[in-house]
C-alpha cells in the first residue's frame, strides 16, 4: 500500500465530503507513492517524533499539525536554516512520507481531538463531541482540585491556570488546540490548548481575571497545544485500524515541549 492509497482510504471512510481546497490536509514531505511499512499518527511532527517513528519501522507519519513550524508549511524562508535541511534529509533518506490531517479531523463526527481531550482531563460524556463546544457537567469540585486532577490524568508539566483555585465549579467548556472557547455566562471553566493572551478575538485571560475580581466562579486552563490535541491522535489511529488491516498503525506521541 502506498501513502497515496492510505489517504484514499481515509477519504473514503471519513464520512464527510473531502475538501480538496484545504491547504493543510496534504502531503508535506516525501514521496506519496512510497510503499508504507507502517503508519505513525501524531499531533506534531517533531524531530523527536520522526526518529521514534522511524525506529519503530513506521515510514508514514500522519500529523495533525505542521512540519515546518508554520501553518502553511511554507518553506521558502527556510532554505538557509540548517534544521530545515536536516529534518528534510532525515525524512527523505529514510524513505518516509508525511501527510497532515487537520481540517477534516475538526469537521469529522465525532471530532477525535475534542473526544480525546475531554477524556484526557477526566470529563465524561464526550464520546460524540464535535468541534463546536458544549457544556459538560462534572460533579461539583473546586477549581484547584479539578486542576490537580487534570495534572494527574494528563501528566502535563506545564499547563497554566487562571482563576480562583477555591471556586466551586461544575460546568466545563473545552476546545483543544487554538480553538480555546470563549468563556460564557453558563460555563465555570474553559479548557483550551493555546490562545493569544490579549488583543485577540476574545481574551479569556483578562475576562476570567475580571470575573474573579467580581466574585464569579470562573477558571481557565490552558493545556498547551500538544497536550490538548495529542490524545485524539490515538483515537485516529484506532479508527484507521478499522479499515486498514494489513499495515501497522501506531500512535506516536509528540513530547510536551516545556519545562518550568
Amino acid at each position: 500500500m502506498t501513502g497515496r492509497e492510505v489517504v484514499e482510504l481515509i477519504k473514503k471512510n471519513i464520512g464527510i465530503p473531502w475538501n480538496e481546497n484545504s491547504y493543510r490536509d496534504t502531503f508535506k514531505l516525501g514521496n506519496p507513492d512510497t510503499q508504507v511499512k507502517g503508519i505513525g499518527t501524531t499531533v506534531m511532527v517533531t524531530f523527536g517524533m520522526l526518529k521514534r517513528a522511524h525506529e519503530a519501522g513506521l515510514n508514514m507519519v500522519i500529523s495533525h499539525e505542521d512540519t515546518f513550524w508554520n501553518d502553511r508549511d511554507e518553506t521558502k524562508d527556510l532554505a538557509a536554516i540548517p534544521l530545515y535541511k536536516l529534518k528534510t534529509e532525515y525524512v527523505l533518506k529514510n524513505d518516509m512520507v508525511i501527510w497532515r490531517i487537520h481540517d477534516h479531523m475538526h469537521a469529522m463526527r465525532p471530532d477525535f481531538t475534542v473526544v480525546g481531550s475531554l477524556r484526557s482531563v477526566g470529563v465524561k460524556g464526550g464520546e460524540d463531541a464535535v468541534m463546536r463546544p458544549r457544556i459538560y457537567t462534572i460533579p461539583e469540585t473546586t477549581f484547584g482540585d479539578f486542576a490537580s486532577q487534570v495534572k494527574r490524568l494528563t501528566g502535563s508539566r506545564a499547563f497554566r491556570c487562571v482563576g480562583d483555585p477555591g471556586a466551586k465549579i461544575s460546568k466545563i467548556l473545552l476546545g483543544p488546540g487554538y480553538a480555546t472557547p470563549r468563556m460564557t455566562a453558563e460555563a465555570d471553566v474553559v479548557i483550551g490548548g493555546e490562545q493569544q493572551e490579549a488583543d485577540g478575538a476574545f481574551d479569556d485571560v483578562e475576562y476570567v481575571l475580571d470575573a474573579v475580581s467580581l466574585g464569579k466562579a470562573k477558571g481557565l486552563i490552558m493545556l498547551g497545544h500538544v497536550v490538548s490535541e495529542q490524545p485524539g491522535m490515538e483515537d485516529l489511529a484506532k479508527w484507521m485500524r478499522t479499515f486498514i488491516k494489513d499495515v501497522l498503525i501506531e500512535f506516536v506521541p509528540a513530547e510536551e515541549p516545556f519545562w518550568t
Partner: protein
C-alpha cells in the same frame, strides 16, 4: 447611543464636582484627560487614526485628571487599585474589554484567520460591571500601545531588561541582545522567575543545562520571521508569547538536534508589565501637575498542585 447618554451624565457629574470643590482646586481640575492625551500625542507624534488600537476606551475624556496610572492591561483589579490611588486616567497597553475590538462585540475588519465578531456582547455581565465601576469612579481609560512601542527608545524592551537587572549588559545600543554573566539555562530561568515575580506563566524549551551568556529579549509577541532571522545569535531567547506550533515547535526541534537557542516565554502581559513602568516615568515629565504611578498586572497564571 447608550454610551453617549452615559457620557453626558458623567460629564455633568464631574462638572458638579469641580464647582463644589471650588477655586483652590481649579488649576488641577483644568487638566482634563483629553489635555493629557494631547500632550502625549504631541510628544509621540505620528498619526492617530480613529480605527487604530490607541484611543479612549471608557470614561469621559473631559474628566478632570487627579492622577495618572499606567499598566500593561487594565484589568478590574488594576482599575480598583487606580481608583484607590486617586489615579483616574489609566493608560493601558493591552485592551480593557477582552478583545482587539476593546468594547462591545463587533466584527473587526482586516483580521486574518478567524472571522466573526470580536469581544463580548454589550449585555455581558462582566463587561457591564467593569463599565459600571469605571463610571462610578469617574475613571478614564486610554489605550496606548502602537505609539508607545514605536518610540525609538523602545521602552518595552529596556523596561524588561531593567526589571531583569540586565540594563548594563546590553551588547549594542538599539538592539535586543544582552550578554549576561554566564550561567545555565536553569539558573537564568530561576532568575527571570524571581525578578519578574512570576507564578505559573513561565515555560521553557531546550536544554536546562545549556550555558547561557547571550540573551535575546523580546517582550510581547515574537513571530517566526523574527526568530528565524536572529535565532543563531543567542543562547537563549526570552519572549512574552509565541505560537506553539511555530516558535515553540522550532525551538523543540533545535533542542532535538543539540542546537541553541533555548526559548523562554514568560507570558505576554508579564513581559509587557515592566515597559509600562518606564511609561509612567516618562509621563511624569509630561504631566507634572498630577501624580503618576505604574500598576503592575502581575502573572495571571498559576500551576496545579
Amino acid at each position: 447611543m447608550k454610551n453617549n447618554h452615559v457620557s453626558r451624565r458623567r460629564f455633568a457629574m464631574m462638572a458638579g464636582t469641580v464647582t463644589a470643590v471650588g477655586i483652590a482646586f481649579a488649576e488641577t481640575a483644568a487638566l482634563t484627560a483629553e489635555k493629557v492625551i494631547e500632550r502625549i500625542k504631541t510628544d509621540l507624534g505620528g498619526d492617530w487614526p480613529p480605527d487604530g488600537p490607541d484611543g479612549f476606551k471608557a470614561g469621559d475624556p473631559t474628566t478632570a485628571v487627579t492622577g495618572l496610572a499606567t499598566t500593561a492591561m487594565a484589568t478590574l483589579e488594576v482599575l480598583k487599585q487606580a481608583a484607590k490611588d486617586g489615579a483616574n486616567l489609566v493608560l493601558t497597553y493591552e485592551p480593557t474589554f477582552f478583545s482587539r475590538a476593546d468594547g462591545p462585540s463587533r466584527v473587526v475588519a482586516g483580521t486574518p484567520g478567524r472571522g466573526g465578531p470580536f469581544g463580548v456582547p454589550a449585555d455581558d455581565p462582566v463587561y457591564q460591571a467593569k463599565q459600571e465601576f469605571i463610571g462610578k469612579n469617574h475613571l478614564v481609560v486610554f489605550r496606548l500601545r502602537d505609539h508607545w512601542q514605536a518610540r525609538k527608545e523602545n521602552a518595552m524592551l529596556t523596561g524588561l531588561a531593567e526589571s531583569l537587572g540586565w540594563t548594563k549588559y546590553r551588547v549594542k545600543e538599539d538592539d535586543v541582545l544582552y550578554d549576561i554573566p554566564a550561567t545555565s539555562a536553569e539558573e537564568t530561568v530561576a532568575l527571570i522567575r524571581s525578578k519578574l515575580r512570576l507564578r505559573g506563566g513561565l515555560r521553557a524549551v531546550g536544554d536546562r543545562k545549556a550555558r547561557v551568556r547571550r540573551v535575546m529579549l523580546h517582550p510581547g509577541v515574537m513571530t517566526t520571521a523574527t526568530m528565524w532571522q536572529r535565532y543563531t545569535e543567542a543562547d537563549l531567547i526570552v519572549a512574552g508569547e509565541v505560537r506553539e506550533w511555530e516558535n515553540t515547535h522550532f525551538a523543540a526541534d533545535l533542542h532535538s538536534i543539540g542546537q541553541k537557542p533555548g526559548l523562554v516565554t514568560v507570558g505576554r502581559v508579564a513581559s509587557e508589565d515592566p515597559g509600562m513602568r518606564v511609561c509612567a516615568s516618562w509621563l511624569e515629565t509630561l504631566a507634572k501637575e498630577v501624580p503618576t504611578r505604574w500598576i503592575s498586572v502581575g502573572d495571571p497564571y498559576w500551576r496545579a498542585a
